[in-house]
């Protein structure tokens, strides 16, 4: 059974339709890449999954349970949304680390707040888990650095550890390397690649075509708010069926 089922999502901003009739599903342990030019609705789609935007139509189901249905107000209460967000983790394009906390505190803060609320895990266990995550990101020696003391690539890896700390079912990346200098993208992509090898369920919005093809089990190409083509990455990226996909990819290979 699919871990994520997205059905007929639509989103308008005023009179502009940003997403229309978006449907796809994702199996547990798989990685999905979403490609497409700027303004195609990729980021809005991720923001809908994380409840930062509310779709006007459609439904989202995680592990078989409907967590959002635009036609059913009982799935939209503010209180529950907080809980439902925890199914998803989100890594932002520009990191959005909390500047007043160290790398380690950034990773542990939300989990500590949740533990305080629900009881359970003690602080030492959370800090230990946080250190392990940072070590996994290759940042064991940066635990006590503040974000401004870290390079962009390091900050983004802290942000990935921060999202992983809450053990989301699905980890979303919104153009995780777009804000980085070219020489720093490698270290972030390597981390994401190793997460894919560990069968982390992921949705990756990216402009890195080669990376999308290598890492993803499934690719979606979006244009003008609709899914133009989806399927196996080698099919979609190497042998696109749709003219719009071909044009988009041609622009990438020219560069």
């Amino acid at each position: 059974m699919a871990i994520l089922e997205v059905r007929n999502i639509e989103k308008h901003f005023g009179n502009t339709q940003v997403l229309s009739d978006i449907s796809f599903s994702l199996e547990e342990g798989q990685a999905l890449s979403i490609i497409g030019s700027s303004g195609s609705g990729k980021t809005t789609l991720l923001r809908c999954l994380n409840f930062l935007e509310r779709p006007d139509h459609g439904s989202i189901a995680v592990k078989g349970g409907v967590i959002f249905d635009a036609s059913d107000p009982s799935t939209q209460s503010e209180k529950d949304i907080r809980q439902k967000r925890l199914h998803f983790g989100l890594v932002f394009q520009n990191f959005n680390l909390f500047p007043q906390y160290t790398a380690l505190q950034n990773v542990t803060l939300a989990r500590e707040l949740l533990a305080r609320e629900r009881g359970g895990e003690n602080r030492d266990a959370i800090v230990k888990a946080g250190r392990e995550l940072l070590a996994q990101m290759g940042l064991a020696d940066r635990a006590y650095h503040y974000p401004h003391q870290l390079s962009g690539g390091q900050q983004q890896r802290v942000a990935i550890a921060r999202a992983l700390a809450l053990q989301p079912d699905i980890l979303c990346f919104d153009e995780p390397t777009s804000a980085l200098d070219p020489e720093l993208t490698g270290e972030v992509l390597r981390v994401i690649r190793s997460l894919a090898e560990q069968k982390t369920t992921m949705i990756i919005v990216t402009h890195e075509m080669a990376f999308a093809r290598d890492v993803a089990d499934q690719v979606i190409f979006m244009d003008g708010g609709v899914i133009v083509e989806q399927g196996d990455p080698r099919e979609v990226i190497d042998h696109p069926r749709e003219e719009r996909t071909r044009q988009f990819l041609a622009r990438y290979t020219e560069n």
Binding site: G89, N96, P99, Q100, L109, A110, L113, Y146, H148, A163
Partner: protein, 216 residues
């Protein structure tokens, strides 16, 4: 001379009282005004913004007179107790209202300067709105408003002497009484009181800014 200095000190205590009480009350009131002006409920934000415009758009000296004398002149009977305590109370009320409006704009600027991504990062990490405010944005906001707040608070120190317009015997009024009798030096020496007070505040703000220097 020591008698005169003693009188000046007594006067300056009035300035310090107005200063302290104004700070204590205008900061929380300023936060309320700030939330009001940022409210999504348009009539409220419109009302609050108009109020802020009136308070910032008229002289503080005039506001002191209106608050102290206004109710009596309108025939409502004066709400202020007789004597010095009533005058001090009226002065503090006028200062609190005036400074709350200025502070509210500084707070608004601070809140709006914290990037939207910080709220969103808190949200996707399952934090509640109060958690996001207290754990994520508050300190960033405080860091940003320390310099403008420092400016405004230093202005407040010197503005306290405006309270003499409703006969609060603060330091300038005391010194002026000597000047009227032909003794000028007490008036000029009041500068030293203000300079020392503001000097201490400046050091305090500098220390606080350095305290928050560990992040950007």
């Amino acid at each position: 001379m020591s008698v005169i200095l003693g009188r000046l000190c007594e006067g300056f205590i009035i300035n310090c009282q107005i200063f302290g009480l104004t700070l204590v009350f205008s900061i929380p009131l300023g936060l309320l005004v700030c939330f009001g002006s940022m409210s999504r409920f348009k009539p409220l934000s419109w009302l609050v913004k108009t109020f802020v415009w009136i308070i910032r758009g008229t002289p503080l000296m005039l506001q002191l007179l209106v608050i102290f004398l206004g109710p009596g002149l309108l025939g409502w009977g004066t709400p202020w107790p007789a004597g010095n305590s009533g005058r001090l109370m009226a002065a503090v009320v006028a200062f609190v209202i005036n400074y709350a409006c200025y502070f509210s704009e500084i707070f608004r600027g601070g809140i709006e300067s914290v990037p939207r991504g910080q709220y969103e990062a808190g949200q996707v990490l399952g934090m509640t709105k109060p958690q996001i405010f207290f754990k994520v944005t508050l300190l960033q906001l405080v860091k940003r408003i320390v310099p403008p707040m420092g400016n405004e608070i230093i202005t407040l120190v010197k503005d306290t002497s405006l309270a003499r317009i409703i006969s609060n015997k603060e330091i300038i009024m005391t010194a002026n009484e000597y000047a009227a009798k032909g003794l000028i030096w007490p008036l000029f020496s009041t500068a030293i009181f203000f300079l020392v007070f503001v000097g201490v505040l400046t050091l305090l703000f500098g220390w606080f800014e350095r305290k928050l220097d560990y992040f950007r």
